[in-house]
């Protein structure tokens, strides 16, 4: 691809020297223009992927990563767009396929896409109060009301966190002390039955 032409046309774009493909950090206000330019002038005709990111310690905390593919030149390009107040302009008018990906990024990270035609949740149900892929959301989940209110009224059912039984069934990686095998739920054993 023509890196120079892009950086000249959009001077605020920064080439990040990606290890696997050309990578740019773009200004989110220019995002839609850049995606359109790449599609029309440089042949990146297929949206390979769009996903949200929670960078935790960076400011801004949230961002969007876009992978575009050129079916003619057989190459990818990656765009990093940081959010401004947790918002990014939509690109679903340029690549209609972005519609669902943006809904997913909203659902999972709470990133709002300005101008999105259908800003609903997609994987979780509409009334779900959290954004589960954020780094501060626990793996097991948080107790929330059951989606069907009429069922919950009769049964008192809630959506409970996953049973972790004294630790996830996974080693946490990283430091050895944190990765040691953990005991299962110790509130019951052979002598003391499960309450």
């Amino acid at each position: 691809m023509d890196v120079l032409a892009l950086t000249q046309k959009f001077p605020q774009t920064q080439n990040l020297a990606g290890q696997d493909m050309t990578t740019f950090a773009v200004n989110s206000s220019e995002l839609a223009d850049i995606v359109k330019y790449l599609r029309d002038e440089q042949g990146f005709d297929l949206l390979a992927d769009l996903c949200g990111m929670d960078w935790k310690d960076r400011t801004p905390q949230f961002g969007v990563v876009i992978h575009l593919l050129s079916t003619k030149n057989r190459e990818y390009v990656r765009l990093h767009a940081p959010c401004v107040d947790d918002t990014v302009p939509t690109i679903s008018d340029i690549h209609p396929g972005a519609n669902w990906h943006e809904r997913e990024a909203y659902d999972m990270f709470g990133i709002k896409f300005i101008g999105h035609p259908d800003p609903r949740r997609i994987l979780m149900w509409e009334a779900y109060p959290y954004h589960p892929l954020r780094k501060d959301f626990p793996l097991a989940g948080i107790e929330v009301p059951f989606p069907a209110a009429d069922v919950a009224a009769v049964t008192g059912q809630t959506v409970e966190p996953a049973p972790m039984m004294g630790g996830p069934f996974v080693s946490s990686g990283g430091l050895m002390s944190g990765a040691e095998p953990q005991a299962l739920d110790q509130s019951w054993n052979e002598e003391k039955p499960k309450s």
Partner: protein, 408 residues
Amino acid sequence: MKTTKEISLGDIAARSEELRGESMTLNMGPSHPATHGVLRLSLELDGDTVTKCDPVIGYLHRGDEKIAENMTYNQFVPYTDRLDYLAPLANNVAYAIAVEKLAGLKMPERCEAIRVVCCEMARISSHLLGLGVYAMDTGAWTVFMYTFTEREKLYTLFEELTGARFTTSYTRIGGLTRDLPEGWLQRVETFCDGVLKTIDEVDRLLTRNGIFLERTEGIAPISKELALAYGLTGPNLRASGVAFDLRKDKPYSGYEKYDFDIPVGTKGDCFDRYLVRMEEVRQSVRILRQVIKTMPGGAWYAEDAKKIFLPPKAKIMTKMEELIQNFMLVTEGPQIPAGEIYFEAENPKGSLGFYIVSNGGGVPYRLRIHGPSFVSLSILPAIVPGNFLTDISSILGSLDFVMGECDR
């Protein structure tokens, strides 16, 4: 004796006048045989014609991306089985290659060749199911029985190779779980002969079958532009006339060494999508035969990647260094350097992409899974309206999606 009251044509016309102008909302699914899993279509109907289609997904959402952030790279391999659970081997391979690219690992030739065998067998297995249930969706029951007989043979081969019929978890970061069993490749060769016969049989049953043609030809055509705009990949994109296949255009795992053709459709309708899958099975057999003929010897895992691949069991039991290495790898995970990678593999359903961000260490910071079925379903609101309600099973079957990968 005549008991029924005679109704004049005028009465019927008057009654149908009353019925007109009222649209109906119909929920198809989430548990419906034609939706191939837990997909719900919220449809708006005008008589028999669909005017609006809103797919509701998420019934199979398990939070795979969140789970991946909380476990080591190798521990995530079984979760990849459950993405496209009709081609688990291909998912295993795609995931392993993504992480290896991030680690900058070069796989030995034998490992790459075995992975190609895995991918192509997974493709045949997935397409056989796709074709079988597609025929069933359009009213031909027999084809399903034929293709499932072949899949049964494939599952026997998978079991021999990986120890499991369905959830294979065959790859590891930096290699495989085990080498090929003795004489297994000859049995794959025998299977190849059989599957071609079955495909010919299916060809005779469906390709010129009047009912099948009426139910598929010209139904829900996807133009080249629409397919690209929605980011379709795999057979669905190729059926629309875009000759793009990652195995040819962005070769991985040594695909550039093998000779095969890419079937491309012209109209992008349901029938074209069927034809593309049929031909892909034949091409996969072609690839399989070439790999079997040229299967290289040597190592089947990256021997120099001491911080990524587990040492052989015999050495763990006898040597101190390998024992420590094994212990560190199991507890802390394979050590992958910091960086980011996006890798897409040509899976049976389309491009399965993994976007991995690593801060170093044994756990990914973020692992994004791009499932082709998610994309295939996102095009439904654009292609379903205007078709009859009965065509929906035909359209869904032709897109060949799987919910495990769509909802993740």
